[in-house]
């Protein structure tokens, strides 16, 4: 007899639990709910977020575009934004500008678009080149006096006029940006047998000039009208002062050439420090041209040392420049020098060096 099939016992039914009553405000929301077809309530914050992201993206694109435009115009090396890094990375040779015979002086406009080179051989004129080295013309003195001999050129940052010293005639000739002679710069009180050599514009627009005329060599500061403001040096102190440069901080750097030293002075001409002659690192032989770029790097040409010394100005706030490195070596190859004589810098981190016996201007950059 078969056992009867046992059916499972029925599962007891779950107790019914009543949901809690909604709070009052939920009841209100439910009451105010929008009709069908309207956006869901959660999409509004998303849309706002999307707009914000889009706006930020547009701003970023605009910034990148502006930076690209700025870079295309000024081509400032990225290392300029990392000054500490720049100090450790020396500049390197880029290219050379040919066409000037035994160049002794070089000047460049802030944007680097015009390079002015005074040649001691050949035509004894200042030749004008574009940034790539194509010759654009010459700066002609105001008369046919064959005694003309340009030494150094300097750009007035306020007007972009080009100042050229002419030692044999005791003159500073001024040309406009197109290369046309404009006028002569003359001391308001004439200086007998004035022999200007180097020039530099101070932040206040005044002009510093090295002068090797009798009775003693000196550095003079003139205002824009030619009034003598200050004289540095007395008998027996300076010996053929040559190059002069002014930093953005207003410090004055003068190569006291035949004394083989660099003098550092404040904006009033008060001595702060000096670097002397010798063969140690950063020491000088026959210093000539000098320049300071907008990153505070100081370049001093050592003619007989066949190099350009690079220093950092105001290291840790101290006036004595800190030696960084030397540019180049003796020779005729790329990046080598034979009697360099002058240096100029633009705002793009380019360094222009008059390489006299190699008949070229070398361009270095970071």
């Amino acid at each position: 007899m078969d056992e009867p099939t046992l059916l499972p016992e029925p599962i007891p039914a779950a107790p019914v639990v009543e949901p809690p009553a909604p709070p009052d405000h939920a009841v209100e929301a439910a009451t105010d709910a929008k009709p069908q077809g309207e956006p869901e309530p959660e999409e509004e914050p998303h849309r706002r977020r999307r707009k914000l992201v889009l706006l930020l993206l547009l701003i970023l694109i605009a910034l990148v575009g502006l930076f690209g435009l700025w870079y295309a115009i000024y081509r400032k090396p990225a290392s300029e934004f990392l000054p500490t890094l720049t100090q450790q990375i020396p500049p390197h040779y880029l290219y050379s500008i040919y066409g000037a015979t035994q160049p002794v002086g070089v000047a460049v406009t802030p944007d680097g678009s015009r390079v002015y080179v005074s040649e001691s051989g050949g035509t004894s004129l200042v030749k004008v080149f574009d940034a790539k080295g194509a010759q654009l013309g010459v700066l002609k003195p105001p008369n046919d006096n064959k005694m003309h001999q340009p030494v150094y050129a300097s750009i007035d940052p306020q007007t972009l006029e080009v100042y050229v010293t002419d030692r044999p005639t005791g003159s500073i000739y001024i040309y406009d940006a197109s290369g046309k002679f404009v006028r002569s710069y003359t001391p308001a009180d004439p200086i007998k047998n004035w022999q200007p050599i180097g020039m530099a514009f101070a932040p206040d627009g005044s002009l510093w000039v090295t002068d090797v005329s009798d009775p003693f060599h000196r550095v003079e500061q003139f205002d824009r009208q030619g009034a003598l403001l200050r004289t540095i040096g007395t008998a027996g102190q300076l010996n053929f002062p040559n190059g002069v440069a002014v930093s953005a901080a207003g410090d004055l750097y003068v190569t006291d050439s035949n004394n083989g030293r660099l003098l550092v002075m404040d904006g009033q001409g008060r001595p702060l420090a000096s670097i002397g002659r010798g063969t140690g690192e950063g020491m000088l032989g026959l210093p000539r041209g000098v320049a300071v770029d907008d990153a505070g790097r100081l370049y001093v040409v050592d003619t007989t040392g066949q190099t350009v010394h690079r220093y950092l100005t105001r290291p840790d706030g101290k006036p004595e420049p800190k030696f960084l490195d030397d540019l180049g070596s003796p020779g005729a190859g790329d990046g080598q020098f034979q009697y360099p004589n002058d240096v100029a810098v633009d705002t793009r981190g380019h360094v222009f060096i008059a390489d006299r016996e190699n008949n070229r201007v070398q361009v270095w950059g970071y």
């Binding site: 035994q102 002794v104 002086g105 005074s118 001691s120 051989g121 004894s124 006096n145 064959k146 005694m147 001999q149 030494v151 030692r167 044999p168 047998n193 022999q195 050599i197 090797v212 009798d214 060599h217 540095i232 040096g233 007395t234 027996g236 102190q237 300076l238 010996n239 053929f240 040559n242 006291d256 050439s257 035949n258 004394n259 083989g260 030293r261 003098l263 008060r270 001595p271 420090a273 000096s274 002397g276 002659r277 010798g278 063969t279 020491m283 032989g285 026959l286 000539r288 003619t303 007989t304 040392g305 066949q306 003796p330 034979q338 009697y339 004589n341 006299r356 016996e357």
Partner: protein
């Protein structure tokens, strides 16, 4: 306190700026000029690039760094032939590329020998038509003893063949014996207290600006140009030297008046080399056919436009004294 600060500031100025400078503003003074660190301006003890431990290969380029066409390190531009000290003027020795000598006879003969007038200079330099060759092989005219075959051997000179860059107490830092192969003899020309490197009142036959220089310069030049030196006492214009090329010669020793007045304007005439010739280069020109036809010694080759370092166009120097 303020006084102390001023004193300290003054001391700083003195310390930073006060450096003894040389009387001629150059590094060429013997003794005084050789400061312990000045050697490094031109030499390297173990890493020299050029001969004599120079820190550069070109000796001439080293010199012209200061004495070249811009000459920002000196007052003498030996390439352009001008000086900048005091009033810009022509260098007495002319220049290797240009010179500013007034080379016209009418302007240059402004007085009789024995007079006081000098020779004018130009306000602008002109290209040199003759020069001592530097860094290039040339003929050392008249080198060798009388009777030597040929007009002179080949030689290459540099600035330091004639000048001692370290200074030696001689006038114009001239070497007592030019540093050129074959040169012999020692000539001391004591430095003058006052330097006069421009032509004003210089070419005068009786120049007294630098008496020691005038008295000895012919002996100095002829340490190389040996056979050009002719003593006045021998009347060399009429006495054969027996040399095949330099047979009859103009007196050049500057030793005093002639023993035979050969139509000189003045008996005080004391000719020297530098009275007619410059040392570096001259802008004088050979204009006339007779001057252009003068051959180089021992050859039949005309000099054409080479003005033989003369101070006046053509042979105008002759008429400075022989006024006919």
């Amino acid at each position: 306190m303020r006084r102390l600060a001023l004193l300290l500031a003054g001391a700083a100025v003195w310390l930073l700026l006060a450096v003894p400078v040389f009387a001629d503003n150059g590094p060429h003074h013997a003794g005084a000029g050789a400061t312990p660190d000045s050697c490094a301006g031109c030499h390297r003890a173990h890493t020299g690039v050029g001969a004599n431990l120079l820190n550069q290969s070109s000796e001439t380029a080293l010199c012209t760094s200061c004495h070249g066409d811009t000459s920002t390190g000196s007052s003498e531009n030996v390439m352009g032939g001008v000086a900048y000290n005091g009033t810009t003027g022509a260098l007495r020795g002319g220049g290797f590329t240009d010179a500013a000598l007034d080379v016209t006879l009418a302007n240059s003969v402004s007085g009789n020998p024995g007079g006081t007038a000098g020779i004018a200079v130009l306000g602008t330099a002109l290209a040199s038509n003759s020069k001592h060759l530097v860094d290039t092989s040339g003929t050392l005219w008249g080198n060798g003893a009388l009777g030597t075959t040929g007009a002179g051997g080949a030689v290459t000179i540099t600035c330091t063949s004639c000048h001692d860059p370290h200074g030696n107490g001689n006038y114009r830092i001239l070497r007592s014996t030019p540093n050129v192969t074959g040169a012999s003899g020692i000539v001391t020309i004591a430095d003058a207290a006052t330097h006069t490197y421009t032509t004003t009142d210089y070419w005068h036959p009786e120049d007294t600006n630098d008496a020691a220089y005038i008295a000895n310069v012919s002996a100095w030049c002829s340490t190389c140009h040996t056979r050009y030196l002719a003593a006045s006492g021998l009347i060399p214009e009429r006495t054969t030297s027996t040399d095949a090329i330099f047979t009859y010669r103009h007196r050049t020793d500057g030793a005093g008046g002639p023993t035979d007045n050969l139509s000189y304007q003045s008996p005080q005439f004391t000719p020297t080399c530098v009275q007619c010739h410059v040392a570096h280069g001259s802008n004088a020109a050979n204009v006339g056919p007779n001057s252009q036809a003068v051959p180089w010694p021992g050859t039949t080759t005309a000099r054409a436009t080479d003005s033989s370092l003369l101070r006046i166009n053509d042979r105008g120097v002759c008429q400075k004294c022989h006024k006919r």
